[in-house]
């Protein structure tokens, strides 16, 4: 097995000095001036130590490919691994482009998995470079960790990787790559965007017990999509929000869809893909009988206001809140850890109206009643 390691050395440097992220050279210089020190290499070492502790030194169990210096080599050497360096950054002041180039090189080298240390920005770069061609796993080291591609701790990342290398963990899940607009974040606004999905190893041990074997969430999602499609009528306009759960509905209908965009369907056909707010309102004028199908963004629970800003407060009001259909598998609800759904549209009064309890379609003739909070509280994992 081949593992590719990419460390974003500057990830997380802004956090300790209150800079809310390190995207951009200017911010990095500012962080250094303020006395920030790199922490990602040490976080990567912690994950690798777990690997070495269980599997012994590399060579016997797996081959480690990485980048020169602080982009991975240093972390590997710190736990007595002897990696093959396959990428060398042009300067010690590494950039997002270095992460992307390194990830592409890893793909060329046919690694089985890319292990990367960083934050949301790093996850975005890996995703931009290789998409879902190569499984990936994040070691949390950044300031912003909104994406669902990170293990809960460096040690947990190592643990998951051990399972992957030993063949105990075979299943993959599609995990959200999210990022906030840092400039807006520094002004005190949190505007998270959904950038895509990475394939991340999925440990069934984390969700499966001994007494009852549950069906996989994948099966549950298929059943959920079937029940939604069965209930659709041909005269209603359906506005389908982003996400893998909603994409399943489109796939089942044999329709093209945009994973990150908002799509409109009518009479079993696509009316428009990746529709902006203004166009949604225009379509609605022609087809006033409409329903909105949304799914909470995994791990965070935002129904509106993150990743689907096209479905604005104005649009929700125009469709009618009674026509909002929330879909989620029981497993997805459980992944919220008891936190309520969140709504953060541009319409504060609507946010308050939606707060309380909402019915969620969870499967065939199955619903859940789930709490909806409101406000833009930082719902980082």
């Amino acid at each position: 097995m081949k593992v590719g390691l990419i460390v974003n050395p500057i990830a997380g440097m802004g956090g300790s000095v209150g800079l809310k992220g390190t995207d951009g050279r200017k911010v990095i210089r500012q962080a250094r001036t303020l006395g920030a020190v790199p922490r990602a290499p040490a976080r990567a070492t912690a994950a690798l130590e777990e690997l070495v502790r269980v599997l012994g030194p590399a060579g016997a169990a797996f081959e480690l490919l990485t980048c020169a210096g602080a982009m991975g080599e240093v972390s590997a050497l710190a736990c007595h691994l002897t990696p093959t360096v396959v990428y060398r950054p042009a300067s010690t002041e590494t950039t997002a482009e270095d992460t992307r180039r390194a990830a592409r090189e890893m793909r060329t080298q046919a690694v089985d998995l890319i292990l990367f240390a960083g934050g949301d920005g790093t996850a975005r770069d890996v995703h931009e470079a290789v998409g879902d061609d190569v499984p990936a796993l994040g070691i949390p080291a950044g300031v912003k960790i909104h994406s669902a591609v990170f293990a809960v701790s460096p040690r947990a990342a190592g643990d998951l990787l051990v399972g992957f290398l030993r063949g105990r963990i075979r299943a993959m899940r599609e995990a959200e790559v999210m990022d906030v607009d840092e400039a807006a974040y520094r002004r005190g606004q949190l505007a998270t965007r959904l950038f895509g999905y990475l394939r991340v190893p999925y440990d069934p041990q984390l969700v499966q017990g001994a007494k009852v074997r549950s069906r996989s969430d994948d099966t549950a999602c298929e059943e959920l999509a079937r029940s939604v499609v069965a209930k659709m009528d041909r005269e209603t306009l359906y506005i389908v929000g982003p996400g893998t759960t909603t994409r399943r509905i489109m796939t089942l209908m044999g329709l093209e869809s945009t994973l990150l965009g908002v799509d409109a369907i009518l009479g079993g056909q696509v009316l428009a893909l990746d529709v902006a707010e203004r166009d949604l309102l225009r379509i609605l004028r022609d087809h006033p009988r409409a329903k909105i199908i949304v799914t909470p963004i995994g791990g965070q629970g935002f129904l509106f206001g993150r990743g689907n800003q096209q479905i604005s407060g104005r649009f929700v009001r125009a469709v009618g809140i009674e026509n909002v259909m929330v879909v989620a598998t029981p497993g997805k609800l459980a992944s919220l850890g008891g936190r309520p759904f969140l709504v953060d549209t541009d319409d504060e009064e609507l946010n308050r109206t939606l707060a309380g309890f909402i019915a969620v379609t969870t499967g065939d003739r199955q619903e859940a009643i789930y709490a909806v909070g409101h406000g833009s509280g930082n719902a980082a994992r």
């Binding site: 041990q205 969700v207 017990g209 001994a210 007494k211 459980a334 019915a359 969870t362 709490a371």
Partner: protein
């Protein structure tokens, strides 16, 4: 809160369980080997009886003999004795970790009673006049459970909790049908911390299921219920206390809201061990309930005999009870099968009557005061154990911060911190604790709302020493997780635990032949 009994606990460091590496029985023996060879019937008998297969329709006849294991008698005896040595039965090990299952000591004298030929030689089809004794027992025990629950009539026909819940769902439907509302009222409301059968059983007969999720304090909020009820509501099927051991203090309000919407309320009392003699289903307004005699009422689970989902209803619903019912006319007991409004038979016969006998004997041996004391002891044991477990590094009680009220007879805990800090997961802890000669624990029903869960239920029959031992084992495994996680993650070392074949999670096989087929397809 911390408790210290001041007693030093000695762990069973040298415990070692038999590990026979025993193959499956289908992999043993040899072709043609027989355990019993019956003598040939002889020509005379054959000619008298004729063709014994003549009455069997051709389509039902096997074309080839079944592929049964072919073993000698001693091979069979050794095989099953070895398997028995690889389990930890209730009679061998402290078994208080199977939360929601109420594993208590079941007095062995009751086994003697239920194995008496006076019971074992009875047949369900015998004339009523010849089985007056067992009919009287069923009738009287029904009256006792009516007193315990506040309901009016009981049936013992359902052979398990889920079947009892199914009986209640069927009676719910029959009630609405009698009011001409069967098709309108097609929704059953339950909660995610109720036993999953409360969703599954009504779903199997076509109800739509609405599940309430817990609020901040660990139990569902009244406003969530109000959002769920409507003119479509058939009823509420709920456990209380729920799996978390938290008692919903608003339960009477829940019942009122459902009644106002026109629905019925069914109380799944599988978790009744902490409330016997303390509170009653009917007093909270419930219309129907079911007790699991194989849990609360001291009937052994599974291998020691069938289960009973004793199902009771208030008087307006008695016409819908499964048939037949046991009746008494002042001088004799009889079975009534002519009940046109009944939902019919849930299963054949009168249910697992030998288990009803054990429960009857247990209740009679304790009396009313004894039942209440058992409930108090179960709650005391649980809270004593909770104080010890929550003091263990890496462990926490679910909803402890948001809801500090005491748990009743069981509690759901989490190893979330342990997992984050050591990489040791709840099933790893489970697999290590059995190395110390105690039973493993139950994690949680699905989905896992509480991460890295484990659920403990120390019933009234465990001593303080046993509680201390169990807590000390958990503490030892936690210490090991921090010092040497690999030992925990590669456990068991001195015990046996079955690990599923890779792939079996996604492709379970229920028979040997199905397994062979999956293997042929490369799926397992």
């Amino acid at each position: 809160m911390s408790v210290d009994s001041g007693r030093k606990v000695t762990l069973r460091e040298h415990f070692h369980q038999a590990a026979w590496n025993e193959p499956l029985i289908v992999e043993l023996g040899r072709a043609g080997r027989r355990g019993v060879v019956p003598p040939d019937a002889g020509d005379e008998l054959k000619s008298q009886v004729g063709d014994v297969l003549a009455g069997t329709p051709a389509g039902l006849r096997r074309r080839q003999p079944p592929m049964l294991p072919e073993l000698s008698q001693p091979e069979v005896v050794r095989h099953y004795t070895r398997l028995s040595q690889m389990t930890l039965s209730n009679n061998v090990a402290v078994n208080l970790g199977l939360g929601t299952t109420t594993m208590k000591y079941n007095p062995l004298i009751n086994e003697v009673l239920s194995r008496s030929p006076k019971l074992t030689e009875l047949h369900p089809a015998q004339d009523e006049s010849t089985v007056q004794g067992i009919l009287e027992l069923l009738y009287r025990f029904g009256e006792m459970l009516a007193e315990i629950s506040g309901m009016d009539r009981f049936t013992f026909q359902p052979a398990g909790g889920s079947q009892g819940i199914l009986a209640n769902a069927l009676m719910m439907r029959a009630h609405h049908a009698a009011n001409g509302q069967a098709s309108q009222r097609d929704e059953v409301i339950t909660t995610i911390f109720s036993h999953p059968a409360n969703a599954a059983a009504p779903a199997t007969i076509g109800f739509k299921i609405i599940t309430l999720y817990p609020g901040r304090e660990g139990y569902p909020e009244l406003d969530a219920l109000k959002r769920a009820v409507s003119e479509r509501t058939a009823g509420l099927m709920i456990t209380n206390p729920e799996d978390t051991g938290i008692f919903n203090p608003q339960i009477a309000e829940f019942v009122r809201v459902v009644h106002e919407a026109g629905g019925l309320c069914a109380y799944d009392q599988a978790n009744a061990n902490g409330i016997l003699g303390v509170t009653r289903a009917r007093d909270a307004g419930f219309d129907m309930c079911q007790f699991n005699l194989h849990k609360t009422f001291s009937v052994p689970h599974g291998c020691m005999g069938g289960a009973v989902g004793a199902t009771g209803v208030q008087k307006d619903l008695t016409a819908f009870l499964p048939s037949p019912t046991v009746e008494f006319d002042g001088s004799r007991y009889y079975l009534d099968s002519h009940r046109p409004a009944s939902v019919g038979a849930i299963r054949s016969g009168l249910g697992n009557v030998h288990s009803v006998l054990k429960a009857y004997a247990w209740v009679r041996s304790l009396g009313a005061e004894g039942l209440r004391e058992a409930a108090h002891m179960a709650v005391l044991n649980n809270n004593y154990l909770a104080a010890k477990v929550t003091a263990i590094r890496g462990a926490s009680l679910s909803f402890a911060d948001e809801n500090p009220t005491r748990r009743l007879e069981q509690a759901r805990y989490s190893w979330e911190r342990l997992a984050a800090e050591t990489g040791v997961h709840t099933m790893d802890v489970h697999n290590r604790m059995i190395d110390f000669g105690v039973q493993g624990y139950f994690t949680s029903h699905h989905p896992w709302l509480v991460p890295e869960p484990f659920t403990l239920e120390p019933a009234e029959s465990y001593s303080q020493e046993e509680l201390d031992e169990f807590a000390a084992v958990l503490e030892r495994v936690s210490d090991e997780a921090y010092a040497d996680p690999e030992t925990v993650k590669t456990a068991p070392h001195r015990s046996t635990a079955a690990a599923p074949v890779p792939g079996a999670e996604e492709h379970p096989a229920m028979t040997w032949r199905a397994f062979q087929e999956l293997r042929r397809q490369g799926l397992v």
